[in-house]
């Protein structure tokens, strides 16, 4: 079920109403959340519910086993069971075809023909998100940072809670499980925050991102037909499309959770205002970057083993971070660009003894991010190279316009979105808590006006980009 669908518009108020009617019983509320989360997911394809149940069951069990194991060796074995089960699922559903195909191509380049090894596998929506979420649970228990829950409904609800199920934010058990266990109290301020963030999220997604997508999709579908100007504009548009698409999704997820009395962690914090790639990753997809830092970068040794190992760790973390997004070499290169940029910054910061760049850093950051988005969006490696070559050739002729109205709407809405971002950024109040700072009347007027803008300018072009991951 999509957040921007009629189904969700009916589903959510129904769940909301029953949920708060059951406010006297946390366990009943949790059962309702679990059932409704499975309905939410099963709406897309009920068959893949079995994977979530399997993953939840394995981690529920291994969590308890790790806690109850008397020795470190035994704890490690149970952790391995969790890692292999979860990553195994991911390997089969997400990466098998990629590695099988890459293997066949490598063999072919050596002159050996290998039969087609790829399988007809559908990628289950959200598998990368809930796999990382459940892994953090067992790793935290292994690291003695978390006590496992014995309440199976609580744990299963933690894995599948519908606002964050298919595209995050990747919530840590230490934040979410206590909230699921304890009684939720309805707070008007939290409700107002939630409503505000949901409406902002919808505007970002279906007005800004989806209108930009029309131009981006047209140009990136056939990059060979377009000149440097069109490709540069499409890449710029994509940078904002993906930001507003994913941050919009996160806003709706976090806002919906607030209406149910949950506080999720912030997932985006105006990343394009960053002055370095290091800062960018503290502001972009925060739940993933902090996951990679805590469970991969630090596990590899972080910056504790010398400067060379630090660079290596940064690169490995970002390469795997890239691969997490999708099984293609383009995502690996995207990760590599970020990894190299992070290493360069680490080196520069230590040499100049500074913590961040000055204003010029914004230009450096945006340029690196823009370059990396080409690989992220292009259909394959050769298209990416062609796009970069054309842009860097500085052969800027008249750009492709397509439908003039659509382009004008996209630019106007982008301007509106950016102005709003600048306004909130300057206020130094997190978007997550802005709604409660408004009076009821002002909030209602704001929401109604945004609904009107959505009504007049929404586009239905795309699914959420991060669903494919």
């Amino acid at each position: 079920m999509l957040f921007n669908s009629i189904e969700f518009l009916i589903f959510f108020p129904v769940v909301f109403a029953i949920y708060w009617m059951l406010k006297k019983s946390v366990s009943k509320q949790n059962i309702l959340l679990l059932i409704s989360s499975y309905v939410f997911y099963g709406w897309w394809d009920w068959r893949f519910l079995s994977l979530i149940v399997y993953s939840s069951f394995i981690d529920y069990l291994t969590g308890l086993k790790i806690e109850n194991s008397p020795t470190k060796t035994l704890k490690k074995r149970w952790l391995l069971v969790s890692l292999i089960s979860n990553l195994g699922l991911l390997a089969v559903f997400k990466y098998y075809n990629f590695f099988a195909d890459s293997f066949a191509q490598s063999m072919a380049s050596l002159g050996w023909q290998v039969d087609d090894l790829t399988l007809n596998i559908i990628l289950p929506v959200g598998i990368s998100f809930y796999t990382f979420q459940t892994l953090s649970y067992t790793i935290d228990i292994y690291r003695d940072k978390l006590k496992p829950t014995k309440d199976i409904v609580v744990f299963f609800t933690y894995v599948s809670l519908f606002p964050q199920l298919v595209a995050g934010p990747i919530e840590r058990a230490s934040n979410l499980i206590p909230q699921i266990k304890n009684k939720r109290i309805f707070k008007a301020s939290q409700f107002n925050d939630g409503i505000f963030q949901i409406i902002v999220g919808l505007f970002r997604k279906i007005v800004i991102a989806d209108n930009l997508a029309i131009y981006v999709d047209t140009v990136y579908e056939n990059p060979d037909l377009h000149n440097g100007s069109s490709l540069l504009i499409a890449t710029l548009f994509y940078a904002f499309q993906i930001y507003y698409d994913f941050s919009g999704y996160s806003d709706i997820a976090i806002g919906s959770a607030k209406l149910l009395g949950f506080n999720f962690n912030q997932n985006f914090n105006f990343p394009y205002f960053s002055k370095s790639i290091t800062e960018f990753w503290r502001r972009w997809h925060i739940s993933l970057s902090s996951w990679l830092k805590d469970y991969l970068y630090i596990s590899l040794g972080g910056n504790r083993k010398g400067i060379k190992i630090t660079y290596r760790n940064l690169l490995i973390t970002m390469l795997l971070g890239g691969l997490w997004h999708g099984s293609s070499w383009n995502f690996v290169i995207w990760g590599a660009i970020h990894g190299i940029a992070l290493a360069i910054e680490k080196f520069t910061f230590s040499k100049l003894n500074i913590k961040n760049f000055n204003a010029l850093g914004s230009l450096w950051t945006f340029t690196v991010v823009l370059l990396s988005w080409v690989f992220f969006r292009a259909q394959d490696l050769s298209s990416s190279m062609l796009i970069i070559k054309r842009i860097l050739s500085f052969d800027f002729g008249a750009p492709f316009i397509g439908n003039m109205n659509t382009v004008i709407i996209a630019i106007l809405m982008l301007f509106l979105g950016l102005s709003f971002d600048v306004f909130i950024f300057r206020k130094k109040v997190a978007l997550e808590y802005y709604g409660s700072s408004l009076k009821t009347g002002s909030l209602a007027v704001f929401v109604s006006i945004v609904i009107m803008i959505i009504t007049l300018f929404y586009s239905t072009s795309n699914n959420f980009i991060y669903f494919q991951f």
């Binding site: 409700f191 209602a444 009107m452 007049l456 586009s459």
Partner: protein, 309 residues
Amino acid sequence: MKSALKLVLIILLLTYGIDKVVYVVLNTISDKVMSGQSIGKLNQFMTVKDSIDLIAFGTSRSNHHIDVKKLKPASYNVGMDGSAIAYAATLIQLLPKDKAQVIVFNIDPNKVFVDDYDASDIKGLITKYNRNPTIKEAISDASQDNSLQHFLWSLDYNSKALGIVKNYISPKYDHKLYYGFDPLHITDAQTELFKKSLLKKSNYNCDAAKKINPTVWKYLNQINDFCKANNKTLVMLTTPTYAPECKVQYTTLETELKTIGVAYKDYSGFFLEQNDLSYWRDKTHMSSKGADIFTEFLRKKLQKDSIIN
């Protein structure tokens, strides 16, 4: 909880109110827009439909190929890029019931023998959804409406508001001189591009076993039934293309249309004997020169068949 309910109630009431104000303002502006391919052309059609004697329907091929004024002085070409049979069939339902009118309908087999036609072109009429019951019913029947449109009327103007305001402030042309026909005057550069494009091989998949899309067939029947019952003469034809492909589909279409009493004329190969690059802008669209020659031929043919004087 009370304050939350209060907030929701205020939002709903405010949204409802603002929506109606925006809707009325857009209606007022929109009604004055007579230029532009989507709203302007539709508005002009609505204005003239009861007084004209001949109307051409179809896609951009109809729009660029049939100079209706040469067929009948009181005429209009409502052919439009992006519109297909659902759009045209709905507009035909709006014609006056008793007035004798000629309907020239350009139909292309590559839009008929398709698997994925969903009548979404009918959305081109969405601005009239809450204002015209026939259009509302047609859009709902095609399942192309949005259930929120019953509450939020401004949804009728989704993605169109800006274009309406633009055409209101600065009309593209003088609609009093416009009758819907847009000849394509080509440049040498366009001819060069066309020459280059001819080197590319067509990738049209010709499947002789393919059936007429059931949705298309439903609309074809609807058009035919309306014409028979309401004093309309239906001229169903395919205008010329540079190199017609999959001739078997033209023959099948002719046979199928015959079963419901429609005489279909295939003129796709009209220029094949004496083809000239100057007749074309691209493989599917004739230049003004090509359109002139074809319209003249059509005029004689319709006169011969006593459809026009």
